[in-house]
């Protein structure tokens, strides 16, 4: 019997898997704050890169654990209406050291009560993943804006390359929804997209913008 089939053992295993990259993120942050003495600019860059890698791994492990648990129906995903801003604030809070290190200014133009459906933990993790990809791809001192238009949330980074090829993933909300599932299987394509290293390392693509409506997830990539 696989360790992952036992809910209690699975819980502990995921906890253990996430511990090192999560702890490494904080250790590296402490070093960057010069708690152990001032560090050189070259070392600062290296440590910042290491910290980004640790954050990526933590997010990917979190994604994997949620998908695995919900696939095995050991995680009850709750479907409630929540304000988008709550989940965004949570995701941005986690990524704030990265935003600060790149001097990226963020503006959020969302009606405070704009809502969406889904499970809080899952949607926050997905948002963290998306935001991380956007922020990691951005140059220094970019401006990052999150706004809404009717049923869309639009994430944009300044200095977009005008020659972008949109990559569209259509997700029908009535069958396999991005943000929640009625304990059914999560869309395989989406699963692969969100935690595949290939996505993050793909040299042709940088995720520049993301929109979500009730039925469609749209990712805009720079393919040059």
């Amino acid at each position: 019997m696989s360790l992952f089939n036992d809910p209690n053992q699975s819980r502990i295993l995921w906890h253990d898997l996430k511990t090192f990259p999560s702890a490494a993120t904080i250790c590296l942050e402490t070093i960057l704050k010069n708690v152990y003495g001032e560090i050189s600019p070259q070392l600062q860059t290296l440590i910042e890169d290491l910290r980004c890698t640790a954050i990526t791994q933590t997010i990917q492990l979190e994604n994997l654990s949620i998908i695995q648990k919900s696939t095995l129906q050991t995680l009850a995903l709750t479907d409630i209406r929540r304000t988008i801003k709550t989940d965004l604030d949570s995701a941005l809070n986690y990524l704030s050291p990265l935003l600060k290190s790149k001097q990226i200014s963020t503006t959020i133009d969302l009606p405070p009560n704009q809502t969406m459906n889904g499970d809080a933990r899952y949607s926050t993790t997905i948002l963290q993943n998306i935001l991380y990809i956007i922020i990691a791809s951005a140059g220094q001192t970019s401006a990052f804006n999150i706004s809404s238009k009717s049923n869309q949330i639009i994430f944009t980074i300044t200095n977009l390359d005008p020659e972008i090829t949109p990559l569209i993933i259509n997700l029908n909300k009535t069958t396999e929804d991005l943000l929640y599932t009625d304990t059914g299987p999560i869309d395989t394509q989406l699963k692969l997209a969100w935690f595949s290293n290939e996505l993050l390392n793909q040299k042709l693509n940088q995720l520049l913008a993301y929109t979500i409506t009730d039925t469609t997830l749209t990712l805009l990539y720079d393919t040059h």
Partner: protein, 123 residues
């Protein structure tokens, strides 16, 4: 050098990297930080010294965070539960045994932890 009258924090976590990074960061901000690697170790440390704030991980060997809190909650020391788990049962038990704040390890920056400690001390 940390002044001897600065607030004392007991940081209880079996993962040495967390204890070191968060602990050193709090020390740099002027607190006196003692670390313990599980609930039993923490109880021994509490015999030798009084603490103003407890920061407690939940999943630890030998004695878990909840078992530790059951033993010390009557001392009413302000407690931060600092964990990577989010189970509702854990949360309910921790509140029952005196936890005031829940923070997620790894996702909470050292500044955010220090801010939370300061707020608890002032409240």
């Amino acid at each position: 050098m940390t002044p001897t009258n600065s607030p004392k924090i007991l940081f209880i976590d079996d993962e040495p990297l967390y204890a070191k990074a968060y602990g050193d960061s709090l020390t740099a901000q002027g607190y006196q930080v003692t670390t313990a690697k599980n609930g039993e170790d923490a109880l021994e440390k509490m015999i030798k010294s009084n603490f103003d704030i407890l920061i407690v991980d939940l999943i630890m060997p030998i004695m878990s965070g909840i078992s530790f809190l059951k033993k010390v909650h009557r001392k009413k020391i302000p407690t931060i539960v600092f964990t990577t788990l989010e189970g509702e049962t854990d949360r309910e038990d921790a509140i029952k045994y005196g936890a005031k704040v829940f923070l997620k390890k790894g996702e909470t920056s050292t500044d955010q932890l220090a801010e939370t400690v300061a707020k608890l001390l002032n409240s």
